[in-house]
């Protein structure tokens, strides 16, 4: 028997579930507190009370705290940016495409030094170690504690970023240093932006993860703490504190995985209908499909491991407009002001919630206030909502066959029971705490991403997988349950010895 506590720390609520094997034993919702700690402690105490003396194997926390900090421009630290690549890329320095309000907070110092690689693995220029040391001294003198290092083509060869970090640590041993190749992909500006965002969150991440640890102790729970990531797996809390950006999208990811778990499905589409938007994602073998395009976070262009989500302007608060016999929905929404602006609450704005109440699909507010909406308008609005969902579902599908659709979220009543291209629409029980369930069921992953020389392709790939397995076990995985989920190799033509860069990723259950 395995027991875990899953917690979702959202902007409004902190939800917790106690899971015993595949069963939800206990679920609780508490308001998120400004210090984060209190809400988590209350949630944990509630779960601990339900759990009795047997204890739990692990506690998993998913949080939107870090992405909210970026979006709301709060608790961000000034960052020293160090780019290796001169004389290339000089005219577009770090922060060059950031929104000015965010750059003004995060841009501590900007340094550029000679270095970087070409696509074939040759250095553009040798690393200018003296310039790196000088930059480190200047950052130290200004009291900068967070640094992001980016180097041209570092995903192919991370050596220069690593060497620069070493030089930095000699000068400023306490600095939190983020290396771009640890987080991003090809695309210098986008990868560097991810590293800069990660670096500016370092103090908040350290502080928040410490608060989680304290809450655990205060609730009297003696179990390892894990933090959930964008890809639906978890990492140990101390590692998560170093990579806050990896939890940016854990909210939708946990919601999708939780919904799938609650219905027993591993391959499905999930639609999460909120007040303003519907987010549609795809699960493959229980994990969200990754986006392979630029994702904007707080106005910053980024490219890293994020779930592929399609957002459309359809939610429970979306405006419904009728003009010349045509009905349109959204993208404008009354949002959180539904209880004041929607017709069912005496407000002036016709919303999708009003339509649903008039159609008898939803009990909310005062149905008498929407009795005058003509049947034809109700039918047309519901058809339009169905059309929008049908088109989005179709866009997210990667195969022609019909797939199941899981509907969650407060506006899920807008999802009809049948849609073209959908085999069945499922509405999971406990959908309100699907996020926390998704956190509780998260698995551990291990990743290797490095350049191998003097090995055959098969040997290099086997070696990468072995390293990934070791790392997963180090992070708390049960070695017997590990499975390889992703492996790719990129030949680097100009390095001696048939150099090959291999990336391997394994996932498995948390060891009991």
């Amino acid at each position: 028997m395995r027991r875990r506590i899953g917690i979702d720390v959202g902007g409004t609520n902190t939800d917790a579930v106690l899971l015993e094997d595949d069963r939800v034993l206990h679920a609780v919702k508490t308001p998120t507190t400004a210090d984060v700690l209190t809400g988590v402690r209350l949630a944990l105490e509630s779960a601990a009370a339900a759990m009795g003396p047997q204890g739990v194997q692990a506690v998993m926390i998913g949080t939107t705290h870090f992405v909210n900090a970026v979006v709301q421009r709060r608790d961000l630290a000034p960052v020293g940016a160090l780019r290796l690549g001169l004389p290339a890329s000089r005219s577009l320095p770090p922060f060059c495409d950031w929104p000015e309000d965010l750059a003004a907070i995060v841009r501590g110092q900007v340094h550029m030094a000679e270095g970087g690689h070409d696509y074939d693995g040759r250095p553009i220029m040798p690393l200018d170690e003296r310039a790196v040391a000088a930059a480190a001294r200047e950052m130290k003198a200004a009291g900068i504690g967070c640094v992001a290092i980016s180097s041209i083509f570092s995903p192919l060869d991370p050596a220069m970023e690593e060497r620069a970090a070493q030089i930095l640590r000699d000068v400023m041993p306490d600095a939190a240093v983020t290396l771009s190749h640890d987080l991003g992909r090809i695309g210098l500006l986008e990868r560097e932006n991810v590293a800069l965002l990660n670096a500016c969150l370092a103090p908040l991440a350290r502080h928040t993860v410490q608060a989680f640890e304290d809450a655990l102790r205060q609730a009297g729970i003696d179990a390892p703490l894990y933090i959930t990531q964008n890809d639906g797996t978890v990492i140990r809390a101390e590692l998560a504190a170093r990579f806050p950006v990896l939890s940016f999208a854990s909210g939708p990811t946990n919601s999708m995985r939780g919904a799938a778990f609650l219905t027993g499905l591993k391959d499905a589409l999930v639609v999460d209908v909120g007040g303003t938007t519907s987010d549609i994602g795809a699960l493959k073998a229980g994990f969200p499909r990754e986006a392979n395009a630029v994702v904007h976070v707080g106005g910053v262009r980024t490219l890293f491991r994020m779930p592929d989500l399609l957002s459309i302007g359809l939610g429970g608060g979306s405006h419904v407009e009728a003009q010349d016999g045509r009905v349109t929905i959204g993208p404008r929404s009354v949002g959180y002001r539904l209880p004041e602006l929607a017709r069912i609450f005496g407000g002036p704005q016709l919303t999708t919630s009003d339509i649903a109440v008039r159609a008898g699909m939803l009990s909310l507010g005062d149905a008498a206030r929407v009795g005058d909406i003509p049947d034809a308008l109700v039918r047309a609005a519901l058809m339009e909502a169905a059309r929008m969902l049908e088109e989005s579902v179709d866009r997210m599908k990667t195969e022609a066959a019909a797939v199941p659709l899981l509907a969650v979220g407060g506006g899920a009543f807008l999802v009809p029971d049948a849609l073209p291209g959908v085999s069945e629409v499922l509405r999971p029980a406990h959908a309100a705490v699907a996020n926390a369930v998704g956190a509780a069921i998260a698995q551990v992953s291990g990743e290797a991403d490095q350049v191998f020389q003097g090995l055959t392709r098969a040997e290099a790939m086997a070696e990468a997988e072995r390293i990934a397995r070791d790392r997963a076990v180090e992070s708390g995985a049960d070695g017997a349950t590990l499975a390889l989920v992703d492996i790719e190799d990129l030949p680097i033509a100009y390095l001696p010895g048939g150099a090959l860069r291999v990336r391997a990723r394994v996932v498995g259950e948390i060891a009991a």
Partner: protein
Amino acid sequence: MREVPLDEIEALAVGAWVLGTGGGGSPYHGLLNMRRLYTEGHRVSLMDPDELADDDMVAVVSNMGAPLVGQERLADSANIGRAVTLMEEYLGRSFRAIMSVEIGGNNGVQAFLAAAETGKPVVDADAMGRAYPEAQMTSFAVGDLKPWPLSLVDPRGVEGIVAKVPSWKWMERLSRKMCVETGSIAATCKAPRTGAEVKRWGIPRTTTQAIKLGQAIRAAQREHRDPVQAILDSEKGKLLFRGKVADIARRTTEGFLRGTAKLDGLDAWRGHGFELAFQNEWAVGWEDGVPRVMTPDLICVLDTVSGEAIGTEVLRYGQRVTVVALPAPKIFLSPRGLDFVGPRAFGYDIEFRSVFA
């Protein structure tokens, strides 16, 4: 001659991406350079080709190489500016103005980078009217103009001149080799042109065309009108097919991105299929197995909802797309023009028929 405000350069980047017909690389980094240059106080003027004197010299610039490498090395206006001054030093003459070899994609903005760096105006013309993958696919090659010399610059301080070659094909081979050696991306200044040559063989007013196109798209997006219709209206284009991507196959060969995309019809095209072949840019389209549209007509694949052009490297399964054709520059419709850029130049044994014929 008139000064171009930054807002028009933003529009140029949008329009140039559509005229890239699926290739040419994103103009994003070029646009970032222009924003910085304008912030620093630089301004660029645009002159009509008719304002050129016959013996004026015009620099023809392009950023050459693999878009993927550009994603890491980032375009720097200093390099394209240096390619121009290097050519001036080699020739012992100074240029009156600067033009892009291709208006489509990233290179549509490169002439502005070089112009801001050197303080010269941009000529409102190019030599493709779109984007094409190879150096001999230009109106200057069709006009049998001299293909040499060429200057090439990389940020490390590598500076090269191809002094003389027997043909455009040879220029493509030699400059491609130099480009690969410097990391598969380099700033180049192609064979200089006289004012008379630009007026006779250049494709006129394509910069203004791209700016107007971009403005039409941005206005439609802002006012929630159909941006695809705005493109058709602005360019007198033809709507060919609306559907969703059912399959996409890509392979990289000989430094080019080649492949095919299959679309399943929607709306009026339900039950019909469309197939597109590409070499960096869209080259030929078949509807239900019958050739429907082909180069040199411009083939653009647009996101049905946003009207954004979709590159051959990023198109993916399930996307809702609209295929439109825009008219080709007249010079490519001649028998000699078709030798350079007709379907056979891309390996398709099809007799060219324009959708606008």
